[in-house]
Symmetry: none
Subunit: 229 residues, 2 copies
DNA sequence: CAATTGGTGTAAAGATTTTGTCAAGATCGC
DNA sequence: GCGATCTTGACAAAATCTTTACACCAATTG
């Protein structure tokens, strides 16, 4: 098998000893390895290296591990296996709820680690969605939070970006008012569809050539909105 | 939410105490539960009950847990979470290699179990390609709420879509006026069959090639309507 | 055979609801 | 305090719903 087809593993850990250990353990097993020693480098590497699996330590110097998981999950479904010394249940629950796929407490057995990596790979043989969404003149790069229209960068407010990200990750499907409100504003805003309309209007003014005749954000009357793909 | 849409969990464990415990823990969390007390019953239940997750004890009286995993994996990809007292690494590796998705050693925390169940559900719900209804030139994609006729997208009002969705989910069967009225408008409209006719007419104008000679929405005089399939 | 009757289909006119836009406060972070 | 953002209110615009009116068809009946 050529090196390009090997499963790609990204290790995000600040301890050199752990990275060396994982390297030793995994390098003999037909994996293509990449390493990052802090959260920001890890996020960048995930975008460039496009790993099939991420092994993530929670105790990073620059970013909290949970935050790393959250940011990854904004644009990627890559399996994340957390390796941590924290064995308290709350840490496990927080990591899994944030989007991690598995949680191993150090010290762990090499065999178990390999078995869990294999299990994760087995599951994720499905196709990975491309993190850059392109539709006509609209381009959304989820890894960089960058939105361009006809090549020009547009600046979105946090709320506008959240809405657009949600639509991109569900492109083509109808998102009900309730789904968007719950995801972006939280469950308390379910009965406030007005803020959503204002934001959709603002969003359209920024990304539609003719906001009164939208081609990207289509309204499905009585139901919600849909992003054409 | 109706009981039909709840995530379905199958518990395979021979110890009544464990089943009771899991039942108590999970029944309050919006799951639909099913239980089996040995391997053969578990395999049979998996086929009939079609769970979204299986919680499996390794120490069953009739079949080894590993064997249960193997037999399940011959035909199903349902996520399997192993719950076991065996904490030796070899047991974990064997279970995971046989096709289990996760392995929890008893005793485990309730929060962690729930978090791992959620993680497994999250993964498996990602791509469930819901069937698209196709009949001649009509195509109804219920997940995208997209209706096309000869490839052209048609826009339906909420009421029209409700009617069509109802007919698609009961394609081929006759739906009485009462059934449609009750389902779409609510029980109060049972005595207002006229709104239904108006909407059927509008619907036909949108999806029938020749609305005066409908080929999709067939009227069954004196009874109701039927969608050909 | 013509008229009637009950069930059905179509068109159009308000009435109602939903959606879009603008702009004025309110809030938040720096 | 200032600028950006968010929220809210008022109103306009658009879409949808309901109702009314009437045409059509087939079976029945006088």
């Amino acid at each position: 098998m050529s090196a390009e087809n090997l499963p790609r593993i990204l290790i995000i850990d600040d301890e050199l000893a752990i990275r060396r250990f994982l390297h030793t353990v995994l390098s003999g097993k037909d994996f293509s390895l990449h390493e990052a020693e802090n959260g920001h480098a890890g996020l960048a590497a995930a975008a460039v290296f496009k790993p099939d699996i991420i092994l993530l330590d929670l105790g990073l110097p620059d970013l909290d591990g949970i935050e790393v998981i959250r940011r990854l999950r904004e644009w990627s479904l890559v399996p994340i296996i957390v390796l941590s010394v924290r064995e308290h249940e709350n840490d496990k629950v927080a990591a899994l709820d944030a989007g991690a796929d598995d949680y191993l407490t150090k010290p762990f057995g090499v065999g178990e680690l390999l078995a869990r990596i294999k299990a994760a790979l087995r599951r994720s043989l499905q196709d990975v969605p491309e993190p850059v969404f392109i539709s006509h003149d609209l381009q959304v790069d989820l890894t960089r939070r960058l939105v361009t229209i006809r090549g020009d960068e547009v600046s979105l407010t946090p709320t506008e970006y959240d809405i657009l990200r949600l639509m991109v990750t569900h492109a083509g499907k109808v998102l009900t008012h309730g789904q968007i409100l719950k995801q972006v504003w939280g469950i308390a805003y379910l009965e406030q569809p007005h803020v959503l309309r204002v934001n959709i209007s603002n969003l359209r003014r920024k990304i539609e050539a003719d906001p009164s005749r939208p081609r990207h954000i289509i309204t499905e009357p009585g139901v919600g909105y849909r992003l054409t793909c």
